[in-house]
């Protein structure tokens, strides 16, 4: 296998702690192969740093196969880097030119306080999930898989929003630091399915109001959709706004019929 080797200059955000003053640090990576993932490139950088007796760059990562939502990084001004529909871990060095200067920054939002270097605390998302991201289910034996008929289009649409891995790219990419795409994806996932109907309107109400405690507001730029590694459409935001409107204006005694 032939290897295309590239020399890369990195401008990486370094910050000792939440209160410390941060700054960009420049590092050079020589002869990185095209096949390396972005995080493998950072592993190599950290190896070099540790060998030189310096402190490694702290960044979040876990599954490295695009399904856990742990990796983050603002790469050249884009959340998860320049490739659409891809988390940072699935981004490869073939996406960059030889001698490129790559700028790496952490997600920035007041709800995502910086822990160290490129790592931020995304537990504000957990607060939103806690407030309504669940359904009531009967306990006992496992129900038959096809007990509740669900139209294929509905199941597919619910799956499209259930794809959300909660990485926070939507908040990071949003010029307003809003979390409407994340919250709406979770709302749409459950509100579209029959199993989610019991809490449909209380869910959207509590989740929207919890979101409000941490994040900015949606002004319909659409940047979140472009940054989302799962390419979740802003259509789900409209669905959330619609269900919130219904939750607020409808006669709650009639809600099951809406």
């Amino acid at each position: 296998m032939s290897h295309n080797l590239k020399n890369i200059t990195l401008k990486i955000w370094r910050q000792d702690g939440p209160q410390a003053k941060g700054n960009f640090e420049t590092h050079v990576i020589d002869e990185i192969t095209d096949e390396a993932s972005f995080l493998e490139m950072l592993d190599i950088l950290n190896d070099n740093l540790v060998h030189a007796g310096k402190e490694a760059v702290v960044f979040d990562h876990d599954c490295r196969e695009g399904i856990c939502g742990t990796c983050s990084l603002m790469i050249d001004g884009q959340a998860h880097g320049p490739q659409r529909g891809t988390a940072t871990c699935q981004l490869h060095m073939r996406q960059f030119q030889d001698n490129a200067v790559i700028t790496i920054e952490p997600w920035r939002a007041s709800a995502f306080p910086l822990i160290k270097d490129l790592m931020v605390d995304r537990s504000a998302f957990d607060r939103i999930i806690e407030s309504g991201g669940y359904i009531t289910a009967e306990t006992g034996g496992a129900p038959d898989a096809n007990l509740i008929p669900i139209a294929k289009t509905v199941a597919d649409a619910a799956m499209d929003s259930a794809e959300c891995i909660g990485c926070g790219a939507c908040v990071a990419a949003c010029p307003n630091g809003a979390a409407n795409l994340f919250t709406a994806a979770k709302v749409a996932h459950l509100n579209r399915l029959p199993q989610g109907q019991a809490e449909r309107f209380s869910r959207v109400e509590t989740m929207v109001e919890t979101m409000d405690d941490y994040f900015g507001s949606c002004t319909n730029h659409g940047e979140c959709e472009a940054a989302c590694p799962k390419e979740i459409s802003i259509d789900v935001i409209a669905l959330m706004h619609k269900d919130y409107r219904k939750a607020k204006f409808s006669n709650r005694k009639d809600l099951a019929r809406k």
Binding site: P18, T103, S123, D212, C218, T219, G222, A238, K242
Partner: protein, 259 residues
């Protein structure tokens, strides 16, 4: 054994300002960002209706001075004699002022919320993918339109900066005099800087509508894949109609078509 880790960072701060307590329904709804966007959209629809009919009404100037002045007189005496002259117009104006104030307040408080949501800006350049020029400049275009609105009222409604506004004229075949709206418009647009400011403000109004008229659908949750393409077409068409109509007036005056 579970290990207790004392974190040196504070609690996640976010944008929350006060504890939750239930307030009257509309205030409660308005206190959320999503609720403010409903207000933004609803007042936007109201003001869109106004700019469209304002433009259509002004097209009367192409039929001549008498037509436009009679139209203005009709507005002044709307529902007369059941309502005294001018009352209905002021009720409508009251509605417009309320909508404008709500629109401004929602915009202001959402902007403050958004600043609080990202107190530390990105230190490197952002590379926006979808956000268009119109959506990125809503605040700027809105402020220029507001400044224009103030000038426009001083010019053609209250006549503070226009000596022709408020003068009366008796048209051929009339028994009573009506306000000479046509003459004051012609006088206003014969001043080139005024005409240029008018054109600039209306182009920015078009930009504001291009994003705003589309954004309303998202804010209210009117989303259906079957019709989603029409939302953009509607916003573009609406903005284009309003801008072309409005911008034609100063051009017509400067070109001598309306004189």
């Amino acid at each position: 054994m579970a290990q207790v880790v004392t974190s040196q960072r504070g609690p996640v701060t976010g944008t929350a300002t006060r504890s939750k307590k239930r307030r009257p329904f509309l205030i409660d709804l308005y206190s959320t960002a999503v609720g403010k966007k409903y207000v933004m959209g609803a007042t936007g629809i109201g003001m869109m209706g106004f700019v469209l009919f304002h433009m259509i009404g002004n097209l009367k100037m192409y039929f001549g001075a008498a037509d436009l002045d009679h139209y203005a007189h009709w507005l002044q005496t709307l529902l007369y004699p059941i309502a005294p002259k001018g009352y209905v117009l002021w009720i409508l104006r009251g509605g417009l002022i309320t909508m404008l104030l709500l629109h401004l307040h929602a915009a202001y408080s959402l902007t403050m919320l958004n600043r609080k949501a990202r107190p530390v800006k990105y230190q490197s350049a952002r590379d926006y993918q979808i956000a268009n020029f119109a959506s990125r400049t809503m605040r700027l275009s809105g402020l220029v339109i507001l400044a224009f609105l103030i000038w426009h009222l001083l010019d053609l409604t209250f006549g503070v900066v226009n000596s022709e506004t408020g003068k009366m004229v008796v048209h051929e075949g009339d028994t009573e005099s009506v306000k000479a709206v046509y003459d004051s418009i012609v006088y206003s647009f014969q001043r080139t800087p005024v005409a240029l400011f008018y054109v600039l403000a209306n182009v920015l109004l078009g930009l504001h509508l291009f994003h705003g008229a589309w954004s309303i659908f998202q804010s209210f949750g009117w989303n259906n894949p079957r019709f989603n393409k029409w939302r953009r077409a509607f916003a573009t068409g609406f903005a284009a109609v309003v801008v072309i109509g409005n911008v034609s007036f100063p051009i017509a005056v400067m070109a001598g078509i309306v004189a």
